[in-house]
């Protein structure tokens, strides 16, 4: 004789998680926080972060944002330092394929929602795409002022002189602004914002971007947003204007001279090569080179 459970499992498809893992109540709360964040570009909105089935530091903030915005028709891409094939990117992509049953991709152009850790794709984004950032420490002033009560006041008063002093100390010590990632920006001329640990190379892509950008910090439980076509200015000085990283040589694989390069050790003798950090872009360039070669013999 069949047990009740056996009968149920024979007739019903496997009961799994709610769409997007989070419950509806949590999604609504996060959605309201996102909307207020969009109305206040660069301002950190506190939200009730939930425990996710992975530890803090693995992108729980970004995952909660993605879970709240993704729908059945979305095509989802995840990158970790630009790469689609690292542990973090693969596991988050598999997580959403499992809890949303949605289509995933590694191609930037095909994706409607891109979750990213520490990079903005090289290929310019479109207006119908949303970029979700994983943020470890959302407060740009945290290492200057450890007290949340004080940084909240500094934001409400627009009191950001201390951040300029920090950059000035760089100049005094090194002769130039040595901050090369998580480079502070002013959003819509009002809020100082930490763009998450993206290289400063990516900062100009945020200015007047076509795509909506959402930032989620899981441990710190903060959400902030930059709507499309918003002014995002990297802090600098008149005599030390903001500049981005440059490399001596092109990418060793695809030969791109315009993309952000990673230094990779290739043997025990300390030999190294420089390759594109954006794997999808690098593969696209390689395919383009191959097609051109075939055309011109």
């Amino acid at each position: 004789m069949q047990s009740f459970n056996q009968i149920v499992s024979a007739t019903e498809p496997e009961q799994d998680y709610n769409f997007g893992y989070l419950d509806e109540q949590t999604k609504r709360m996060i959605r309201r926080a996102i909307l207020k964040g969009v109305a206040l570009p660069g301002y950190q909105v506190a939200f009730g972060g939930r425990e996710m089935p992975m530890p803090y530091g693995w992108g729980t903030g970004g995952i909660m944002l993605s879970a709240s915005i993704l729908g059945q028709d979305d095509v989802f891409k995840v990158i970790d330092q630009g790469a689609d094939d690292t542990t973090n990117a693969v596991s988050i992509r598999q997580f959403f394929a499992k809890v949303c049953h949605l289509e995933t991709t590694t191609e930037t152009a095909k994706a409607s929602v891109i979750q990213t850790r520490h990079r903005i794709p090289e290929q310019p984004l479109r207006n119908d795409q949303i970029l979700v950032f994983q943020v470890p420490i959302p407060e740009p002033l945290r290492f200057i002022e450890p007290r949340e009560t004080e940084t909240k006041k500094m934001h409400s008063l627009g009191e950001y002189g201390s951040m300029q002093v920090k950059l000035y100390e760089d100049i005094v010590k090194y002769g130039y602004i040595a901050t090369s990632y998580a480079y502070p920006v002013m959003v819509h001329g009002r809020y100082l914002m930490d763009p998450s640990p993206i290289p400063k190379f990516d900062n100009p892509k945020m200015h007047q971007s076509n795509a909506l950008m959402l930032f989620g910090a899981g441990r710190e439980k903060r959400i902030y947003c930059i709507p499309p076509y918003t002014d995002v200015a990297s802090l600098d000085f008149e005599d030390h204007p903001f500049s981005i990283q440059q490399w001596q040589a092109p990418c060793s694989l695809c030969g791109s001279e315009t993309s952000f390069l990673d230094e990779v050790l290739i043997d025990d003798q300390g030999q190294r090569m420089f390759v594109c950090s954006d794997t999808d872009y690098c593969q696209g360039q390689l395919a383009k080179n191959a097609a051109e070669e075939a055309l011109h013999g």
């Binding site: 709610n18 769409f19 309201r32 969009v38 915005i69 993704l70 729908g71 819509h188």
Partner: protein, 203 residues
């Protein structure tokens, strides 16, 4: 005796798709989006009902203006409130305490009384839904600001003097303020507190 009408037929999918439309509208002020998953609880229009159903719950005090009844003579605001309470468990509230408020386009609203957030928590400002009488009538406005590439020209319907005044010259200074969602039938157009609104003089 009031009758409870059905809510979303697919609550999870439909609230997600409505939210994405609201997100699109608010991140690109002046852009008109369509919400077509529900017919609405009269006298609330379809888009206003869907916004409330996808975003409201027991944590969001809701104000529905009695003036909305003028739009649809047969339906009472109590009926709509009962339906929303049943489907999303929202509590009715006074205008001054509301997180979400729905008013009619022709209504004089004392905007200074609405919640506008505090210096340290500007996000606690009210989201004001205004039921417009169409985005093809009324004076023309020029919108600029975040979410708008250059500028956008929109018509918002025949809004009351107090609403027009607030749009052009808000009594709150950014970052404090009220985010306005204009609803007409299935259409939604948002004006964020960052949006600069100018009246285009009639020729």
């Amino acid at each position: 005796m009031s009758i409870i009408a059905p809510g979303f037929s697919q609550p999870v999918e439909h609230s997600q798709s409505c939210f994405r439309q609201v997100l699109k509208a608010l991140s690109e002020p002046g852009h008109i989006v369509t919400l077509d998953k529900h017919l609405g609880f009269a006298p609330l229009c379809a888009s206003a009902t869907q916004i409330l159903m996808s975003l409201c719950d027991q944590h969001t005090p809701l104000y529905l203006s009695p003036r909305l009844e003028e739009i649809d003579g047969d339906a009472t605001i109590n009926q709509a409130q009962r339906n929303l309470t049943f489907h999303c468990n929202t509590k009715p509230s006074a205008l001054v305490n509301a997180d979400f408020a729905v008013v009619s386009h022709s209504e004089g609203v004392n905007m200074a009384k609405l919640k506008c957030g505090t210096d340290t928590s500007p996000e606690s400002g009210t989201t004001l839904l205004v039921q417009s009488n169409g985005f093809d009538r009324g004076p023309e406005f020029k919108l600029t600001g975040p979410g708008i590439e250059h500028s956008r020209t929109v018509q918002l319907g025949n809004l009351s003097q107090s609403l027009v005044e607030y749009l052009i010259n808000p009594c709150h200074t950014y970052p404090l303020g009220i985010d306005i969602l204009l609803c007409h039938q299935q259409q939604l157009l948002a004006i964020s507190r960052t949006t600069k609104v100018e009246l285009i003089p009639c020729m």
